[in-house]
Amino acid sequence: MRPDLFEHPDYYLLDELLTDEHKLVRDATRDWVKRDVSPIIEEYAQNAEFPQQIVKGLAEIGAFGPYIPSEYGGAGLDQISYGLMMQEIERGDSGVRSTCSVQSSLVMYPIYAYGNEEQRMKYLPKLASGEWLGSFGLTEPNFGSNPGGMVTNFKDMGDHYLLNGAKMWISNAPFCHVAVVWAKNEEGRIHGLIVERGMEGFTTPETHNKWSLRASATGELVFDNVKVPKENLLPNKSGLGAPLGCLDSARFGIAWGAIGAAMDCYDTALRYSKERIQFDKPIGAFQLQQKKLAEMITEITKAQLLTFRLGQLKNEGRATTAQISMAKRNNVDMALTIARDARQMLGGMGITGDYPIMRHMMNLESVVTYEGTHDIHLLITGMDVTGIPAFK
């Protein structure tokens, strides 16, 4: 891939709304992405290989649990800092950002929020340091948008739980050391269990032949009579609201991350439009190309404002699930549209690995589907404004 010359657009001078610390968080993450992600990511994506060395780097920069308190190994930063980190990491690659989102919001967050002190002290420092990689098991082969229908279950065997079932489309699964798994007890109530690699009957087959998130490892979590110690049950929250609470945190990060992917596509297309000469002038001089660029920067700016306000609300503990849904849905769709337009602007070069656009576009096809599909988020907004659920 070409040298990473990225400069972020800031059309509405949003940097003035950020603190010096926010900007330092963002710039440090960007420096790390330019140094350690951009030079290698295309090759790993082309080879459909997970760059395992990135786990250590993500841990060193502090991308695992940046908002988790420092006594558990996190950095104790605010939600806008977390969002800016996700923006910068996804600017590099959605797959790398997915690894972070899962570790931070779907593994560390539930252990921090729903776990007891022993569980926090046992797992969080190792997850923050990257010594352990985690995964999150909610989606099943027959229960995607309807997770409440899950069939994965556990039985109380007296001195342990016996876990059976299977989870699918699980980021980090092939390499995870621990998995936060959502399963029903004998009364049909959903609980979170921490399953560790090495427990008998627990396997993590890899999902191959993806055209998206190729630099991220995806797999299944299969539980065949797995004996889970009773102390591995997350005690402080149960019911479908527990995993959905984790998804709120992850979707918040995705809303920011998608802006990063969109910015990279826009920046690449803008640069290209000034360099590529057709009919004796740069293609950026033509109205149809300017229309694309003008729409891109407009949509990026709107998305930035949406997430900044959402970050303020999240810092105050006031961001609702529906507000997060709106931002995730809007921003991912925005990024996907920009990726497609940017790809067209680069013509044939847009489909090559010399530029990041096609990789972003393919990645975003997963991002628009996972953590609540584009359509489901629309229904969440619909339910929120009408008070009537349209899911069934």
């Binding site: 400069e7 010096d20 610390e21 900007k23 330092l24 968080v25 440090a28 420096d31 790390w32 140094r35 060193e60 920069i61 502090g62 991308a63 940046p66 420092s70 950095a75 104790g76 930063l77 800092s81 980190m85």
Partner: protein, 248 residues
């Protein structure tokens, strides 16, 4: 070992530079500021020395409150404390005078400056600081190790290197080679969090006078467009190089 690292807050090399005040001052609007790259090599070397020998790394800069972001970054990278000389610098002798006034009673073993700053590229401050403090000075320093109360230094000279020994305390003007680019540190989130509570002292100026004043700046003329001449038309290329460019 007490180490002082002098840091300049300078525009990023990719920043688009404009002037204000009738062309007499830099317009900071829209400019991204960074730690002067020469100083960053020095800061990283100071952290290496601290990790090897123990001690304290203090960073100092001269500027108004806007430069504190640069000091916080230095703290996030690993400096222990920071000092901001509270004012707006206008002249290198003023900067050297203020730095000397601050440092003279602090007992620093080593004062590391960048060889020059990439904004005005004067290269005066490190030498002037050493002179005002009556300390030995090594410029263009590309190697530095400390052995007890002595420093072993490498200075870049035309076509080679000079090995130098000097007793501490000493002032150096450093550059790449003190550490390599790959050794420069990106602040991590824990460092950024820790930097919140590290001391950043704001110190009033001692009154060192500026000896010069910039009255105006002129930007270089924009580069003309590149003209491509087809490789089958070498005669035309030679003619243009001879008659228009007048280089052959």
């Amino acid at each position: 070992m007490k180490i002082l690292v002098c840091i300049s807050h300078v525009p990023d090399t990719t920043a688009k530079i404009n002037f204000t005040a009738g062309g007499a001052a830099l317009d900071p609007n829209g400019v991204q500021f960074v730690i002067n790259p020469y100083d960053e090599f020095g800061l990283t070397k100071a952290l290496h020395l601290k990790e090897k020998h123990g001690g304290q790394v203090t960073v100092i800069t001269f500027g108004d409150a806007t430069v504190e972001a640069t000091l916080r970054k230095a703290l996030a990278i690993g400096a222990d404390d920071a000092v901001r000389l509270d004012g707006v610098p206008t002249d290198p002798m003023q900067v050297a005078g203020e730095l000397a006034a601050y440092a003279k009673d602090q007992g620093f073993d080593l004062i590391i400056c960048g060889q020059e700053s990439i904004d005005y590229n004067g290269g005066i401050v490190p030498g002037a600081l050493a002179a005002l403090m009556n300390l030995p000075f090594v410029n263009a320093c590309i190697g530095l190790e400390v052995d007890g109360s002595n420093a072993q230094l490498l200075r870049e000279i035309d076509g080679g290197k000079e090995q130098i020994s000097a007793a501490l305390p000493i002032v150096i003007g450093g550059k790449k080679g003190l550490v390599e680019e790959s050794e420069l540190r990106i602040p991590n989130m824990r460092g950024i969090m820790t930097a919140r509570t590290k001391p950043l002292a704001v110190t009033p100026l001692s009154g060192s006078a500026a000896l010069t004043a910039a009255s105006g700046f002129t930007k270089p003329a924009a580069k003309a467009a590149v003209q491509l001449i087809d490789s089958s038309n070498l005669d035309e290329l030679v003619r243009r190089l001879h008659e228009e460019a007048k280089v052959i």
